[in-house]
């Protein structure tokens, strides 16, 4: 079922299109929905330094000050500023809302008041009700009745389908944090389409795609295709209606930079009004918006200060996105993140850097507004990026600690030059690819299950049947433990992926992301983003078993509850192949087991090594290890070495992490480094230069 996106000829001859697209270079983008083509034909690479940038305007400072004094400071005190308990969220459910009278540069709030959170009950009612009560309010009985008696939710559907082994794995916490009661997220709508084409053209395109298969005859696949398209079209109409409440007609394309930023933000706003996904990333906007800024600057209608004010205003809005979530959820995700990730930097396939002046403007927001975790600014790093940009990134990193880095060559090679990160590390082609978010499985606990024959080391319960434990009290044998681990992974990964298939089947059915998918092509790539937690612990424990002497310690029931480790063993994260190869083998083994299982909607299996969010929760539910990791203590995040075991310097740990094969972890590998500026050099210049050098070194394979 293919439907090539295209723009209707009769739209193109309408005068508003000619005006909106004035002075833009022609290309395929005028005949089909191809934002990437528009960017490559119209953006201006920027090789200079940060000296052109403007500081915050008075208006920006006033808006930010009002936010802080009237809203953010209150929220910090009481966790949740306010909840609307009457209005189930929808794209156009709320009237217009503003921060203050000054809030007129880029407008739009999720509800009618800043930071006020909306109910999004399609994921599941229980979570919503708990969150309302935890915020000190009472749920509306009528709304509750609708979502418990009349309207089935994603959460209910999942539990209708779950198998006994999934329930067992969930209650013993070998698999936890699954998106079975909350929005899955990790879908990036191509919000730029709203600005470039206007909503009417997008609706027409979806109508045409929907009817292009009208004569193909019934199948379930066919029916879902048509029904999802109808949902997308309805969502686009609601998007127009929502914008009209703010006084904007977005049926046609944006005619200048201010409209381009505003239209694009409306697209994102519609998403976060209707979905509370775990990660709601915004994509890759800088090159796109820059084309509009450059045109307006050339036409003399705006100044640099105006351009910066628009980006600052947009970033302010991205900083106050809020979802109604439970205290439990905040614990799993270590706070209240929504991952409004904005990807930037990198190169295009034609060899030009994608860095523009707007890439600098985005970083400048961290100076103009001060540091903040959102939007999660992610730089696609390449040692050949322009020096001025590299130095600015490094300086802002040192000043604000708010930038994340990815390897541009790695991402571009696999996902092309218009890819963006969803959440923390998951790359996808914007508007052409989405992900089924898979949370992560506790790969460390699986090792303990392997040695205890499926008995839980914390509760003593037999969770998995049919596996032989390690017997005897002698030192552990590496080959025996590895065989048992591989065997146990069959059960663990099998159970995990089964749960993911069920979850995404149900999410599509009961909590479909209609506006986000309306801003995708009709035929897209789907990836299943599986993940593992506890990599360093398994690697170090297996290394201990292999290179030192590890003796199990049992309780009175024979359960192994601890280990006595004698002798030295290499730890993962020190650029020592003995331990690093074990880590790479674990990642590869898990990946091959995932690949062996058929996936929902023919998704491509991928894996991430990323635990920034659940390392504390997983640590609590897991016992002692041969590596010396103690029961109940947090895992180190992502692909990080175990805390305190990376003793050969940060660059050595980066090189160890670099040995994990990216092909085994296409959904991304994360390493979190905390560097104090003084550890980077004696002067600011030295610090900036050394950080640039470390990033260049850490992302580039060594020479032979």
């Amino acid at each position: 079922m293919t439907a090539q996106a295209h723009i209707d000829e009769d739209l193109l001859i309408r005068p508003e299109f000619a005006d909106a697209w004035r002075n833009f270079a022609d290309g395929e983008w005028k005949r089909g929905v191809e934002v990437r083509d528009f960017i490559l034909k119209n953006y201006t690479p920027f090789e200079g330094d940060a000296s052109f940038l403007a500081g915050p305007t008075e208006k920006t400072l006033r808006v930010w000050d009002t936010l802080e004094k009237k809203f953010l400071s209150v929220e910090r005190k009481q966790r949740v500023y306010d909840v609307d308990t009457e209005t189930p969220a929808e794209i156009d459910a709320f009237g217009a809302g503003y921060i203050s009278e000054d809030d007129d540069v880029i407008v739009g709030l999720q509800t009618d008041v800043p930071l006020k959170r909306a109910m999004m009950p399609y994921g599941g009612w229980r979570m919503v009700e708990t969150a309302i009560r935890e915020a000190g309010k009472e749920p509306n009985e009528n709304v509750k009745k609708i979502f418990t008696e009349y309207r089935k939710t994603h959460n209910e559907a999942v539990f209708d389908i779950y198998t006994p082994r999934i329930r067992a794995a969930r209650s013993s916490h070998i698999i936890t944090g699954l998106p079975d009661a909350y929005g899955r997220g990790r879908i990036i709508g191509d919000y730029r389409r709203v600005a470039l084409y206007g909503v009417d053209a997008l609706i027409a395109d979806k109508e045409r795609a929907k009817d292009s298969v009208a004569d193909k005859g019934f199948s379930e696949h066919w029916a879902r295709y048509r029904e999802e398209h109808s949902e997308q079209i309805k969502a686009l109409k609601r998007l127009k209606n929502m914008a009209s409440k703010y006084g904007f007609d977005i049926s046609g394309p944006a005619k200048n930079a201010q409209e381009a930023v505003q239209w694009t933000y409306f697209g994102y706003l519609a998403s976060v009004k209707s979905q509370d996904g775990a990660a709601m990333s915004i994509g890759r906007l800088s090159g796109f918006l820059d084309a509009y800024f450059e045109r307006d600057l050339a036409e003399g209608t705006i100044t640099e200060s105006d351009a910066q004010e628009m980006i600052d205003a947009l970033v302010i809005k991205l900083r106050i996105t809020r979802f109604l979530r439970t205290i439990d959820y905040d614990q799993i995700f270590s706070g209240d993140p929504y991952w409004a990730t904005w990807s930037d930097g990198g190169f295009s396939d034609d060899g030009r850097t994608l860095v523009t002046k707007t890439s600098f403007r985005l970083l400048q927001t961290l100076r103009n507004l001060g540091p903040a975790p959102e939007p999660n600014i992610t730089i696609f790093w390449d040692e050949n990026l322009p020096d001025g940009y590299k130095e600015f990134c490094s300086a802002i990193s040192i000043e604000t600690s708010s930038i994340q880095y990815e390897s541009d060559p790695q991402i571009r090679q696999h996902w092309g030059d218009d890819a963006a990160i969803a959440c923390c590390v998951s790359p996808m082609k914007v508007g052409k690819q989405m992900q089924f978010f898979g949370a992560r499985v506790n790969a460390a606990k699986a090792l303990l299950y392997a040695m205890n024959g499926g008995r839980d080391e914390m509760s003593g319960k037999q969770v998995v049947e049919g596996y032989e434990p390690i017997t005897g009290d002698g030192p552990l044998d590496f080959d025996e433990v590895w065989n048992k681990y591989e065997h146990m992974l069959d059960w663990v990964i099998g159970t995990y992926v089964e749960a993911l298939n069920i979850i995404h089947y149900s999410h599509d059915k009961y909590a479909y992301e209609s506006i986000e998918m309306a801003l995708h092509d009709s035929d897209i790539i789907r990836a299943m983003g599986c993940g593992i937690a506890g990599l360093s612990i398994v690697a170090d424990s297996l290394s201990a078993i292999k290179y030192a002497k590890v003796t199990p310690i049992r309780d009175e029931t024979g359960l192994i509850v601890d280990y006595k480790t004698e002798g030295d063993f290499p730890a993962y994260g020190n650029d020592d192949d003995r331990a690093d190869d074990i880590a790479a083998t674990i990642v590869h083994t898990v990946m091959s087991k995932i690949k062996a299982i058929p996936l929902y909607r023919d998704a491509i299996p991928t894996q991430s090594v990323l635990t920034i969010t659940s390392n504390v929760v997983y640590g609590k539910a897991t016992g002692n290890f041969p590596s010396g990791h103690r029961a109940g203590t947090p895992f180190s995040p992502g692909a990080n070495p175990e805390n305190g075991k990376d003793t050969h310097g940060m660059v050595a740990s980066m090189l160890s992490v670099g040995k994990l094969d990216y092909d085994d972890a296409l959904d991304g590998i994360s390493l979190t480094n905390t560097i104090t500026p003084t550890a980077l050099g004696r002067t600011k210049d030295e610090q900036v230069k050394n950080l640039v050098g470390i990033l260049d070194a850490g992302f580039v394979p060594e020479e032979d």
Binding site: E383, S397, I398, S401, I403, Q404, Y405, E406, S407, Q410, I421, C424, D568, P570, A571, N574, D575, D577, A579, I612, A639, T647, H648, G649, M650, V651, A652, M654, L655, G658, G668, I669, S670, L671, T672, N673, T674, I675, T676, P677, T678, A679, L680, G681, R682, K684, Q687, N690, L691, G693, I694, D696, A697, G698, F699, V700, P701, E702, E703, D704
Partner: protein, 288 residues
């Protein structure tokens, strides 16, 4: 791989208060099955070294990101040493030079992109002169920036040719006063002065390091004397690093069962450290 650089804390541009060293020789193959006699022969030829540990560090042991190799064996017995497990050459791990060179080669790219290189430290690098020289020659032939971190006590034992392979000398002047030097290190100050004079005559790049130890080396008079000495070498000295004493090495002294007389000494205050830096700055030196 994504990297999230977090950089908390105020920026006072103070040198690192502490560093981890002595992290071991992971990643280097050890020669453990050699006869003692053949071990000695290989060491004399500079093919086998007694190595305490290696580490990739930034902005600590010279410019850029560097592979610092800590050698075992030292003629000094500094009372504040934070690596007392490097005192004896026999306590190190026997590592063949090729093993080390494999690592050095692997990190060429890192050195290039950060403007770094290798630093041979200790212990005392010049205790294993032949091994150090071979390592320096190989590094130079790979185009890598080289650095040695030394007290200079054994300076007279190295040839000018050896020094040709050294791009930068980190010279520790532990005290300016003869008696204090003896009290702190157990040895004489003069060889360090002689070595510095020679480096100055050769026009070598030198960074001076001075550890401020309260009650031992930190007096106004002693610092003035150190500054006097440093000012003898205008052709060589490019910067002075004042390193505040820290207690990171305490556990090592204890586990070695050696009496650690500084166990109750507190690190110098920020103000004291700055006072000492100012004494050097007053001489027109670049000081950190």
């Amino acid at each position: 791989m994504s990297i999230d650089v977090q950089a908390p804390g105020e920026q006072d541009f103070a040198p690192p208060e502490s560093r981890q060293s002595g992290a071991g020789t992971w990643g280097l193959g050890e020669m453990t099955d050699l006869e003692r006699s053949s071990q000695l022969q290989l060491m004399r030829e500079g093919k086998l070294g007694s190595i305490h540990s290696w580490e990739l560090v930034t902005a600590v042991d010279g410019p850029g990101t560097r592979m610092t190799v800590f050698m075992n064996g030292c003629p000094l017995r500094c009372v504040y040493c934070h690596n007392p497990d490097t005192f004896q050459m026999r306590d190190g791990k026997p590592i063949m030079i090729d093993e080390l060179l494999k690592k050095v080669k692997r990190y060429r790219k890192v050195f290039k992109s950060t403007g770094g290189g290798i630093t041979i430290s200790g212990g005392e690098v010049l205790m294993q002169r032949a091994f150090a020289e071979n390592l320096l020659i190989s590094a130079k032939s790979l185009g890598i920036h080289t650095c040695i971190d030394t007290s200079g006590y054994l300076g007279r034992t190295v040839t000018d040719e050896f020094l040709d392979y050294v791009d930068l000398v980190l010279l520790d002047v532990k005290s300016g006063d003869e008696d204090t030097y003896k009290k702190v290190t157990g040895r004489e100050l003069q060889p360090t002065i002689d070595f510095g004079d020679r480096l100055n005559a050769l026009g070598k790049d030198v960074w001076i390091r001075f550890v401020a130890v309260p009650g031992y080396t930190d007096s106004y008079e002693n610092v003035e004397k150190v500054a006097d000495i440093v000012c003898r070498w205008p052709n060589a000295v490019k910067r002075v690093e004042v390193l505040p004493f820290h207690q990171m090495g305490t556990d090592k002294w204890e586990s070695l069962g050696i009496n650690y007389e500084l166990k109750d000494v507190q690190p110098p205050s920020k103000e004291e450290t700055e006072r000492i830096r100012d004494q050097f700055r007053a001489r027109g030196l670049e000081v950190y």
